[in-house]
Symmetry: D5
Subunit: 123 residues, 10 copies
């Protein structure tokens, strides 16, 4: 399987204005169909991303999130790097009051890993 | 499917007097049969609302809550707006000491979202 | 169904001395077979009561609790009132350091409710 | 809620040619977001349809099935009638070797029902 | 608790015409809120009834089934007798092609029982 | 722990007349609190018995079943023998049309066993 | 069933030296096969003990714990007393930095209880 | 996403000799990480394949199966075609006594499908 | 990890006389702690064996079964061979009326397999 | 089974540089296939390790972790010692900001234990 090493572009991500910016509220989005490639072996990895945030002025649009995540399908990166990259991209386009991403990968060699990264302090 | 864009009316909501106003206690109401329409595509959305509150002087009546929520059946609004609107309406008619609404929607395009909004500070 | 509106009597409740009053400890009692009547329609309601407390000098006896709760079988009262009444009765006979009752009722019209009431502050 | 009593039209259903007609094989399609109205009370009903069939020359297309089922959203019919109607429509457009529909509705008044209808004999 | 020993009356049960008598199909109705009294001790019993049948000319109406079953609330009878009685009554008013009732009672003294009775032979 | 090796007596088992002998029907009784002793080591064994039968003229009474099974509490016997003995005793006192006992024991040394014995042929 | 009322002896409990006393760490031991007798009726009670502690200089040995708990098999005591007694005995032999016992008993008369006792303050 | 329409090659599949050809026995292989593309929209599909067979002279090797299935990652085909193709390829290389493939795809538009295809008659 | 290729010896297996040879009955033994080595890579495999049989004159003893299975701990063999070998050994020492072994292995590379082998015909 | 008493070597553990050292984030790794030997009886123990940490400059590599843990396969040590040893080794090679290991072992004699050890204070 040919592995792309160029980082996916955050330009695909679209946003819309938070309809209730006066209130702190939470949006949790669960994406159980995330897949990328291992940069060492070229083998596919599979995981479930749970993105939780308190929007400030902007929310990300769900269909554009799906297309953004599909860029990882033939992209090679380790678990830790992938999860931190996605957080950086989502923070860059929405500038949230708080955001957390939990990425739970399926077992390899009888071992499975979950990476949890956070931006800001939960109010 | 023809989509109504007029906001549902909170006039349908009936209340009764809190029988134990001297005590802080919690009421949780789970409505797994909530449905509305996507304002962009006209396609139905489905979700489970969990409404939790500490009543002050008034409680909402369950049958009138059901009828109020049924107004969203042919109404078009995005997840974030719907959840905040319902919170505003329930707060307006019951003026609770604290209230939280969690709206968990079913998957679309392999992605599902839950919106959690809160009024006041949980004692 | 003929509905009784006289409140059940707490006289049925028996107690025994707490065998370890020097220690704060917790007793949780789960009663999944609670049933009462709706005072408006006469229709039966069903629920699960979870009673949790830290006893002071007295504990309630389980068989007498069962008989006390059976008095609600043909008694008419709304969810909120029933739950607060039972807390008042159990507090009156045991004077606990802390007590909480969670009453989870089965769905009606696609909606289900849970009432949680508390006496004192959990140490 | 205004209730339509005209039967939904099977004209919305689209089909495609069975790619492997030489082999008896089974297709199971689960639709957990079915909703219609009670013709007596106008109240919404909710259910999960499980459609299983062995195609002959034609298969039904999934997006058109979704649109066909959405016609029931404001349509009034009892459980038994709805389930048999949908079977008649799907049989009319696909002429399958065998088909079964199981419709599991959510509880009303503490009681829930499942209707199972079948066309032809499972080979 | 005062125990009635007169058998409930099947007169409460209402029926409607089977809308598709030309087809053998199955109706399963689950009633998790059944309760009766033990004729020996007067103590309440609780169970879940699952009624499955292939209607011939008549179906039973669900609301009238609920009222019929509520007659057992203060009625005293053993598990085996209750289950057979209900089958006899439902068969008498609907004359089905086949019917089965499974009654699963909650534990007493660490032991729980399920009674399954059948009328006719499943086609 | 002192182990008794005398077989429990079936004299404790009480029966009552089958109220509907004209109909073949099934009674399933689940006893999750069975315990006996290992005759070799004196260590306790724990298991769940599921007794299923079609009564002929007699049914066994549940409270007497509980007392009968309690005789095994300090009795020593291997899994296979215990299960066959109980079947023999229940068949001797009820002479059923058919009976099956499934005894599922908890793990020992990382291994768990279930013994299933049957009397007669299921109609 | 003959009920012994002499309290079990803690002399059966053996200990070993904590191999890492320099570190606060937690040991949780789950015993789902606990059984004792009701001192009033002589009937067996069944429960699951969860013992959690932070050892100081000594840990209890698991096989000796099993033998210690088996002394309750023919011993009569109420739930609250049994749970507090076991805590006292385990604290006496191990002098832990913190210990908690949760004893979850199986249902009797449709009601089940869990007793939670604690020694010291969890660091 | 660029969609390949050339069918994956069965040449990747490796086999080994059935070590016990004298005995009919069953091998079930579950692959929860199958993914392909929709030929119409280019969007990814995800599913779980359960392959069950009775080998004759040859078994397929698991690592080569994984590589064979990865060829579908950027390949476009509808559910029904994909499932039948995989069966044809596995039958071609192993010539089993019997084989069945069940392909359960994740929900799209609130609807999910499972395709089951079979080769030969299960002995 | 050094891999032994000599087959484990069935001499470890002990048997006892079937106490009820006059009756066909079933014994199911579940061993969730089976482990062996992959002969190619030397990596450990893990699985759950479910052994079900109808004994004739002999039953296998559970402790000796545990010791027999532990011989596979450092033994190298593929799934299919291991499962058939164990069946051959157990059949050789007990000569049962019927026996089946189901071996469910944990996932490797996202794929998991279950092998089911049978001796004789289930009566 | 021959039991090795030499402690496994941490030299097998490989690390890589934390790609995002500027951010506190959490890595959870679950290893359900851990096995060692009891030093007293030589019998195998089985457990699930959950390793959670906040990396500082180094992360441990997953394949090397698997090989490190496999050294325990024929190694004899008690639960408490094994868990603390593994923590010491992982802390020695990664010097994390915080680390916790939870080791949940399978039941022995009807009793199961979980050991939880921690290094540093969770930020």
């Amino acid at each position: 399987m040919s592995v792309s090493l160029t980082d996916p572009s955050r330009a695909t991500l679209e946003t819309f204005e938070n309809p209730f910016p006066s209130r702190d509220y939470m949006i949790e989005t669960i994406c159980p169909e995330f897949t990328s490639l291992c940069p060492k072996t070229g083998q596919p990895d599979f995981g479930t991303l749970t993105i939780t945030y308190i929007p400030d002025r902007m929310c990300f649009e769900l269909k554009s999130l799906k297309l953004y995540l599909q860029q990882y399908r033939n992209h090679g990166a380790f678990y830790e790097r992938v999860t931190n990259l996605i957080l950086d991209d989502l923070v860059a386009v929405t500038a949230p009051r708080w955001m957390r991403i939990e990425a739970a990968f399926t077992p390899r060699g009888g071992i499975r890993s979950t990476i949890t990264v956070e931006h800001g302090r939960r109010p």
